[in-house]
Each structure stands twice: as C-alpha cells, then as structure tokens.
C-alpha cells in the first residue's frame, strides 16, 4: 500500500472522527431523551460496550500485522488504546456522577458489595499507566520497560471480561462473544511467543542457524 505522509495523516483523522461517533450518537440521544426508560443505564452500558470494543480493536492490530505481514495496522494501536481509555473513563464517569450522584455514602455502600464493580475499577486502574505513558516521549524514556508495562493491557482485557461476566444476571451471550474475541487475540500471541521460544531453544541446543 503506497500512502504518503499526508495520506496517513488524513486517514488518521478519519479514523479518529469515526471513533468519536459512538460518543456523539450517545450524547445526542441523551440530550434528546431518546435513551429509553433508563437513560443512565443506557449511557453507562453504551460507554462500557465501546470501551471493550476499542480494547478488542487495539488488541487485534498486532496479530493482524503478524498474520498479514502488513505493518500499517500498528500505526493505529495508540489511538485505539486511547479510545478504549476514553470510553472507559466515560463509563466510570457516568457511574460516579450520574448513577451514584457523586454521593460518597452511596459509593461506600454499593462498591464493596459488588465484586463486578471492584473488578471494573481494577481494570480502569490498569489502563491509567498505559494511557499516561502512551506518548512517544514516554516510550523513548522507558525503553524496554515500556513494552513490559504495556503488556498490562492483556491483564486489563481479562479483568474487563471478568467484570462483564460478573455483572450479567443470567444471559452470558454477549460476554461470551467478547471472551471469544479476546481469547483468540491473546491466543495468537501465546502461539507466537511459544514458537519464538522453540526457535530460540533449538538455536541454543543444536546450534541450528536461525533464518
């Protein structure tokens, strides 16, 4: 694919705007009272769904690169990760500001009684250092550690799933779909890692020249 520097900038702006549309649509529905009988729940779940979707998209880019050999998907990794963080922040904000009405008393009562809320908060805490260190500057400063730190996103993907499974009353269809997606995306990484390990071992033990 031959796209110039300007071309990539334009594509990035388009992807950025596209990623903002769920936010715009939800806010528009909220303003126009089109979120149904329980608008807080609709906003809360809407933002949560999109946080998980962007997390899945972000996790999919490296495997796409591995499989297709194309490097362009990786250009969008930071943006997708930050959008996951953006929607997760809105998800949390709706919970604190609208659902709990900023009441510390409600927070103290409701959060400890809900393992799924605790798991959601943990997921958000895991995402914070990733968002903070997402800049190129931080990437350079942290060097090798940056990669290790950003592996936390795998943990966040799993805790987000647990959060979803624990909150569902009975019908696990949707969390199972996300679990399948994240399972495949993490599975590919495990396969890649194991292959490398095998290659490395064979190199050491049998002095086979690696390609």
């Amino acid at each position: 694919m031959l796209v110039g520097k300007k071309g990539w900038a334009a594509i990035k702006i388009m992807v950025f705007l596209l990623s903002l549309t769920p936010f715009a649509l939800l806010v528009n529905d909220a303003i126009n009272d089109r979120l149904g009988a329980n608008p807080i729940e609709a906003l809360h779940f809407g933002f949560g769904d999109w946080a998980l979707r962007f997390l899945c998209i972000g996790l999919a880019l490296t495997p796409i690169k591995t499989i297709t050999g194309q490097s362009w998907p990786v250009r969008f990794r930071r943006m997708m990760g930050l959008f996951a963080f953006f929607y997760a922040s809105l998800h949390l904000l709706v919970f604190i500001v609208l659902d709990l009405s900023l009441s510390w008393e409600a927070f103290k009562d409701e959060v400890p009684k809900s393992p799924y809320i605790l798991m959601g908060l943990l997921t958000f805490l895991l995402l914070i250092p990733l968002a903070v260190t997402s800049t190129k500057k931080m990437q350079k400063r942290l060097g090798r550690n940056w990669l290790n730190l950003h592996r936390l996103v795998y943990v966040a993907g799993i805790t987000a799933l647990v959060h979803y499974f624990w909150l569902v009353k009975k019908d696990y269809t949707e969390p199972l779909i996300y679990a399948a997606v994240i399972g495949v995306l993490l599975g590919i990484r495990i396969v890649v890692y194991c292959r490398r390990k095998v290659d490395f071992l064979s190199f050491d033990l049998f002095y086979v020249k690696r390609r």
Partner: protein, 314 residues
C-alpha cells in the same frame, strides 16, 4: 415527561375517591390546556377499556411513571433477555382465548375460562410501587382484583399451604424459551397467607387500559412488597400445594434469588447492593431513591414474617 420523586412519600395511604376524581378532572383539564402546545404522549388512557374502574384500597398517592417507560422496559425472558426487544417480540402472543388451569389441593379444580374469571372478579385500579431486583423501580396504576378473592372461589383444602403459578410455555411464539437461559416454563409461588393478603393482586390492565403483552397480558400477578420477578406474567396454571414450590429464579441461582424475595435494603444481592433504586422516568441528574423495607408496605405485611430471619429467608 420526567417525573421527579425526591422524597419518600408515605406509601399505601388509601386514596380518597373524591381526591382521585378531582385528580382526574385536573388531568383532563391539563390535557385540554396543553393539547395545543404539546404533542400528546400516551399516558393514562381515558378511552381505554378500564378507564372508569373504581379505585381500590391500598392505592398509593404517588406520581405514576410514564406509561411509555413501563411498557418499553420489561424483563420478559420468554421473549428476550433484552428489555426493549421483549416489548416488540411479545406482540406475537395471542391473549384470547385464554384459560387458567386450577389444580392441586383444591375442591374445585378445572380449567377456567379467563372471561369467566373476570366476570366473577370485578376490577379496580391500584397505584403500587414496583421494585425490580436489578435496583430500578417504577410506580404503576395497575388494574386488577385481589388474588385472594379469586383463590377462595376454588375452595383450597386445608392441605393447601402454598400456591404455585406457571407462565405459558409456547416456544413457537415465546422465542426466548428456545434458549436455556431459564428452566421453562417460568414458575413462581407464594405462601398461602401471602397469596391471600389483600395487597396481592392479579392484574389484567394498567393505565386504564388492558395490559400490553410485554407487561404480562392477559393475566399477571402483582405482589408489591416483593421483587418484580415474583410477579409472574401470562399465568396459565395455578396449583395449590402442601410443600413449597420450586421457583424459576431460585432454581437458576439459589444463592441469589430466594423464594420470599421480599424487598429489603438491608439484605444485599450477593453481587450488588439493594439499598437504593433508580426510579424510572426521573431525570438523569436525580439521585437514586432509598429503598424501603417491604417496598414501603411493611405496615401491611411485616407481620407475615415476624420471627423469621430475613437474611436467611431472603
């Protein structure tokens, strides 16, 4: 229409007939006045089948939830686990003709035509609070009759200690029943004294008109001091039993949903608090309401459970 409920208004105060009538006059006048300036929204149908039924006892003086909200946000897993989808899918259900099988410890078992049941049980309107186990609530003007009046006519025997209710099982139409999300058909139950309590009613309508399918047409239970899942929809069978019936949600998760399921802010669901409830129809900036024990009907029903550990018998 957004209804703000800020304070805990005393429930179960009996609405005076005159007060109620004057309220109607007010609504009529207000409707006429506002007709020119705003689009009519479906509310308390003045032309509905039950628009002129009398107000029964125990009807609370509370601002009712918008009918649209009540009719578009329903847990009806027989159709879908999605509250909006079930509204649409339930349209496929044919609610006439309808009959109810009466069985078990009873002198007059048999299959009763719904029309005959309704002939013997004149309906009335009662405004009740409705509290879901998922921590949301609404206020609904139900149309129906006391369950006890109906049950007495079947002459339960002295062995009848519990009543079991069963929802229609028809996976061709109730497409949610094709999945194993619950063990179909849906079954609920009450202890005999709970069933005979004057607050407990069988509803056939709401907002002055017939029940919409998604709200449990043509016949559903309403037990206002219990979580909504006790108030079983589309009832086709009533069985009097000597032993406690196994109920649908209890069977699916015995640690989370008990047989009694009395509204109780002091007993949390294992996965979430029950201290507060989101009142449907209120603005997004309205804080949740503090949940009341027995949903505010403690004055009437607390004595049914005296001496019982409500943490154990949740």
């Amino acid at each position: 229409m957004l209804i703000k409920i800020k304070t805990n208004i005393l429930n179960s105060e009996i609405t005076d007939r005159a007060v109620f009538e004057s309220r109607r006059e007010f609504i009529k006048a207000a409707t006429v006045l506002s007709a020119g300036v705003m689009l009519p929204r479906p509310g308390h149908a003045e032309t509905g089948k039950y628009h002129d039924v009398p107000v029964g006892p125990y009807s609370a003086k509370l601002p009712v939830t918008d009918r649209e909200d009540v009719a578009s946000y329903t847990n009806y897993y027989e159709f879908s686990t999605n509250k909006q989808d079930s509204t649409v899918l339930a349209r496929a259900l044919k609610t006439r003709p309808w009959s109810v099988e009466v069985a078990g410890e009873v002198e007059k078992p048999g299959v009763y035509n719904l029309e005959d049941i309704l002939k013997n049980n004149p309906v009335q309107e009662r405004i009740y609070r409705f509290r879901c186990v998922e921590a949301w609530s609404m206020v609904v003007p139900w149309i129906g009759f006391p369950l006890g009046d109906m049950l007495k006519r079947f002459k339960p025997t002295s062995k009848a200690k519990f009543v079991e209710f069963t929802t229609l099982h028809n996976p061709e139409i109730m497409i949610g029943q094709r999945s194993g999300v619950l063990d179909w058909p849906y079954v609920e139950g009450l202890r005999m004294d709970e069933a005979m309590h004057p607050l407990t009613m069988m509803a056939t309508g709401m907002y002055g008109d017939e029940l919409p399918n998604q709200n449990g047409a043509p016949l559903r239970l309403i037990v206002p001091w219990k979580y909504g899942f006790k108030s079983i929809k589309a009832v086709v069978k009533i069985r009097f039993m000597e032993t406690m019936p196994e109920t649908a949600w209890h069977k699916s998760a015995p640690g989370e949903y008990g047989f009694y399921a009395n509204v109780n802010p002091e007993v949390a669901h294992p996965r979430w608090s029950q201290s507060r409830e989101r009142v449907l129809g209120s603005s997004i900036f309205t804080p949740k309401r503090d949940t009341e024990k027995f949903n505010g009907y403690g004055g009437e029903v607390a004595s049914l459970y005296s001496g019982m550990d409500l943490k154990k018998y949740f």
